[in-house]
């Protein structure tokens, strides 16, 4: 560490010291704003400004040419009363979030517990399992997914070994296509797993030993010790994964070739929003959709926080 050598600081009479203190604080304020300049610029130009703009645009009709026309709440009214695709996209997204997120977290927890047995090579295994979540949001893997779940893809070949025939083309079949994206989401369970693992390591082993002495079986120990002890981590993972699952775009776009097909079965909310904005150039409508998404995500997050008192236990709060 390199710190400049001192010019000695003299002790001064108190009044002058106070004055100096004031100017120093003033200077401190100035340099604080100096440090914050890039961030404040970004907050204003790239975040707050566009946010307000999108709120205003959501009450207009605007196709990028000409000027936005104010049309009141018409976009919102149309969305909720006269746009079946909006409802469809909402349901697809809900289905994805409500199935994909719990499945992914369950698998992540299961593997984390498996890795938390004090085995040799744990850190190697951990990295190994983490790899898919690093690649899961890439276009390359989404393309691979199209093949794996295709008519003559890996999945059907594997099932063929067991003598199953007349298998569907999972990606092109509206019954299954959303399932393939859920599978992709679950496959990329690495990052919640690493977080779970960090949480599991904090659970004191004495608790398990005491419970075993009292005759608690493995399941009982899991329900009564593991789950309550790591509930803050479960909560954290849930919030994080939920928020990002609501915004899924890339995988749906690539696997369906940008259409959200077949028959809109993978028309995610973000994908429909993208289509309205950049295919139909319906900027007002897309902005209104974005605000609905913001409110829905906010609501779910609030719901999670509101119910968390009942099921999340923090170490410090226990009596």
């Amino acid at each position: 560490m390199t710190i400049h050598k001192a010019q000695g600081v003299l002790v001064r009479p108190s009044t002058r010291a106070a004055g100096k203190e004031r100017t120093r604080r003033h200077r401190g304020q100035r340099s604080a704003y100096l440090f914050l300049t890039p961030w404040m610029g970004g907050a204003l130009l790239v975040t707050i400004g566009p946010m307000l703009a999108s709120l205003i645009l959501s009450f207009t009709n605007y196709n990028l040419l000409g000027t936005p026309q104010f049309i009141g709440a018409q976009n919102y009214v149309q969305m909720f009363t006269a746009d079946p695709r909006f409802w469809h996209a909402s349901f697809v997204t809900f289905e994805y979030v409500l199935i994909g997120v719990p499945l992914q977290l369950a698998l992540a927890l299961a593997i984390a517990m498996l890795l938390n047995r004090g085995l040799r090579g744990m850190s190697f295994y951990r990295s190994f399992y983490y790899l898919p979540s690093l690649l899961g949001s890439s276009v390359a893997v989404a393309l691979l997914w199209r093949q794996i779940f295709g008519a003559d893809g890996l999945v059907n070949q594997a099932l063929g070994i067991f003598g199953l025939q007349h298998l569907p083309n999972w990606v092109a079949d509206p019954t299954w296509s959303l399932g393939t994206l859920v599978a992709l989401h679950v496959w990329a369970f690495g990052s919640p797993m690493v977080i779970f693992l960090a949480g599991l390591r904090q659970v004191p082993t004495e608790l398990y030993e005491a419970a075993s002495v009292d005759g608690a079986g493995a399941w009982r120990r899991f329900i009564s010790i593991t789950i309550p002890m790591i509930s803050p981590v479960v909560f954290f993972n849930l919030i994080l994964q939920m928020i990002s699952a609501f915004q899924t775009f890339t995988q749906a776009y690539v696997v369906s070739g940008g259409t959200g097909g077949p028959v809109d079965s993978t028309l995610f909310f973000s994908l429909y929003l993208y289509q309205r904005a950049f295919t139909d150039f319906d900027m007002g409508y897309a902005s209104a959709m974005a605000w609905v998404l913001l409110i829905v995500i906010g609501l779910f997050t609030w719901l999670a926080f509101a119910t968390s008192r009942r099921w999340v236990f923090y170490e410090g709060e226990r009596q």
């Binding site: 710190i3 604080a32 961030w39 970004g42 999108s54 498996l114 085995l119 850190s123 070739g257």
Partner: protein, 295 residues
């Protein structure tokens, strides 16, 4: 030493049967972990193997092994959508590196101010910064596009890079704030006594100590930017500006009937940088996730 003595002691005390049961359980756990792990990465391994097979053998010899190996897919894929794939990789690299620099620059400055300096409105601004972590990008997508289009930045790298120089990734600002709060304040005070101003304290005291946080930020920024699809898809319209993911996506659009071999080959090329970062920075990645929940 003590563990050996200990296990020897238990060995004599514990009946042989229970000991071997213990060991076999451990072997089973290892086996389960390895088999599950292999099943999980099998698709990736299969993609690598297939990229070296002649196109027509990919589906007729679906296992990992092939009767003939070839580099033809890489040759074909390289020029398949008109321009050499190396150009797209280069574009991705330029954008990713620029974004890393941008985030390191803007997030450290903001984080230092939030963590150490006192100023009016710091509480409000900090709360706002935290709130933007949860903000879905869709909310600012449309106006941002309109803004960048108005100033003529579409079809350039600027809309992808410039925001990073303005600290828009609040995640990292927060991560760094937390990190700086862990650095003892006595160091700042000592530097003040030695006559350092805030800027010097930042540059000479805080920044050198922040290396781990900087590494996490750099690694994740690189990976996220490299994987990002929506932003380049939106802003880059000329093929010569495409990033690797956008170019990969064009493989489907351009051919209609997808030729898997060349596509797999280029998909693998596009994953190699991620893989290298993963190998080099495993520790930062795992620590970064464990402490902050990044993806």
């Amino acid at each position: 030493m003590t563990t050996i003595a200990h296990s020897a002691a238990t060995a004599s005390a514990v009946p042989l049967r229970s000991r071997s049961r213990h060991r076999s359980r451990r072997v089973v756990t290892h086996a389960v972990i390895i088999v599950t792990g292999l099943a999980m990465v099998y698709p990736l391994i299969w993609m690598v193997a297939s990229s070296f097979k002649p196109e027509k053998l990919i589906f007729t010899e679906p296992g990992l092994w092939s009767s003939t190996w070839t580099l033809q897919n890489y040759v074909d894929g390289w020029n398949q959508i008109g321009l050499p794939f190396g150009l797209f990789l280069l574009n991705s690299l330029i954008i990713s590196v620029a974004c890393v620099i941008g985030n390191l620059f803007s997030c450290t400055l903001a984080a230092y101010a939030f963590a150490r300096l006192r100023f009016r409105g710091s509480g409000t601004m900090f709360a706002f910064m935290l709130a933007t972590i949860m903000l879905p990008f869709q909310v600012i997508l449309v106006p941002q596009y309109i803004m960048f289009q108005t100033i003529g930045w579409t079809n350039t790298f600027l809309p992808l890079i410039v925001p990073k120089f303005l600290g828009v990734d609040a995640f990292f600002v927060f991560l760094m704030v937390q990190f700086i709060r862990g650095i003892p304040r006595q160091l700042d005070e000592a530097a003040t006594v030695d006559g350092c101003g805030t800027i010097q304290i930042f540059w000479r005291v805080i920044l050198p100590l922040m290396r781990p946080a900087l590494a996490v930020t750099a690694v994740f920024t690189f990976i996220w930017t490299w994987n990002d699809f929506l932003t380049p898809l939106l802003y880059l319209t000329d093929q010569e500006k495409f990033t690797a993911p956008v170019a990969l996506n064009a493989f489907i659009d351009s051919t209609g009937v997808t030729s898997y071999g060349p596509m797999f080959a280029m998909a693998i090329l596009s994953l190699i940088p991620l893989f290298v970062v993963f190998l080099v920075a495993q520790r930062q990645l795992v620590q970064g996730i464990a402490t902050t929940g990044l993806k």
